[in-house]
Symmetry: C2
Subunit: 187 residues, 2 copies
């Protein structure tokens, strides 16, 4: 039931926005009472936090496997790190949109844990770039922290325009991003 | 007075968010009555639309000058197009954040004009990339529409982390972005 509430809420937050969705809307859509909601969540804030945590923890878990894979060089790791973001947009577009848009509505008491995991996600990216610089795969004259912000801005933002049912596949998007990131636009 | 209301509202939307800011909050902060507010705006929606329009129209105006400058090649134009976004974050950080975050809260009746101008802004970018491809400055094997989304995602997102009073200047940020965009990360 907890999963069902989260799934239904993601649908509503995606279509109506977090602010305009009430707990009543959520329970009405599932056909349960508010009592059921409050059995699993203290508040709409706690629900939003759990949605964020579930999304980022899944990504962190996938990152960890990639980073620890000794058969991959850093370019390959970077490719896979970008891939899991696009793939998440494909399989869980609504979650990705809620994750990116509604973080703004998480209040002080509920945001700390989410923010520290988002930070961890970003620093994992940066670690691969730093390692690639050390091993001579990547140029060493660009600050890795800003490069990380740049790549994450580019890739994360795809949730706002990428249509997984459209003409471009995940692979094509990721390949284009990686070409741009690794080799640039200059002829 | 209209400008004053818009300026004060941007401050409040930036700190509290659009949803949680009431018209009462806005007029209290300026020390006027609700009547004054309604003399200039029909609703909070209309105010938010005007804030968005004012932000994007200013950027479109700057874009136009760059695109029509016959002394610039397309790389130089691209540099300047990126520069005005970062510069806007520096000089109007609050507006940039409200512009990027609160578009979500603009409702049907008020969003069309804003969306068409945002689209125009994006297509101006794409025009420079297409022109650069035609003139052999940029490689021709990457779709210009996706490249545009990628660059705009990267650059626009800076509002969320770039601190203009921090250790990096506008020039340094733009130079790093352009190095990455034009030449890539590969050593």
């Amino acid at each position: 039931m907890k999963d069902k509430i989260m799934k239904e809420s993601i649908d509503l937050f995606d279509s109506k926005g977090f602010s305009k969705t009430t707990i009543q809307d959520i329970v009405d859509n599932i056909g349960v009472t508010k009592g059921t909601f409050y059995y699993y969540f203290e508040s709409k804030q706690e629900l939003l936090r759990d949605i964020h945590l579930s999304f980022i923890e899944n990504l962190l878990h996938q990152q960890e496997e990639i980073i620890n894979d000794k058969n991959l060089n850093n370019k390959e790791k970077l490719y896979k790190l970008v891939y899991i973001i696009i793939s998440e947009i494909k399989t869980s577009g609504k979650s990705a949109r809620v994750f990116n848009r509604e973080i703004r509505h998480l209040e002080k008491d509920h945001i700390d844990n989410v923010n520290s995991k988002r930070r961890e996600f970003r620093l994992n990216f940066q670690k691969v770039i730093d390692e690639g610089i050390r091993e001579g795969e990547f140029r060493n004259d660009l600050r890795s922290d800003i490069v990380t912000f740049a790549i994450l801005g580019m890739v994360n933002r795809s949730y706002s325009w990428y249509n997984p049912d459209g003409e471009m596949s995940e692979d094509e998007i990721v390949n284009l991003y990686m070409e741009l990131i690794l080799n640039g636009l200059t002829k």
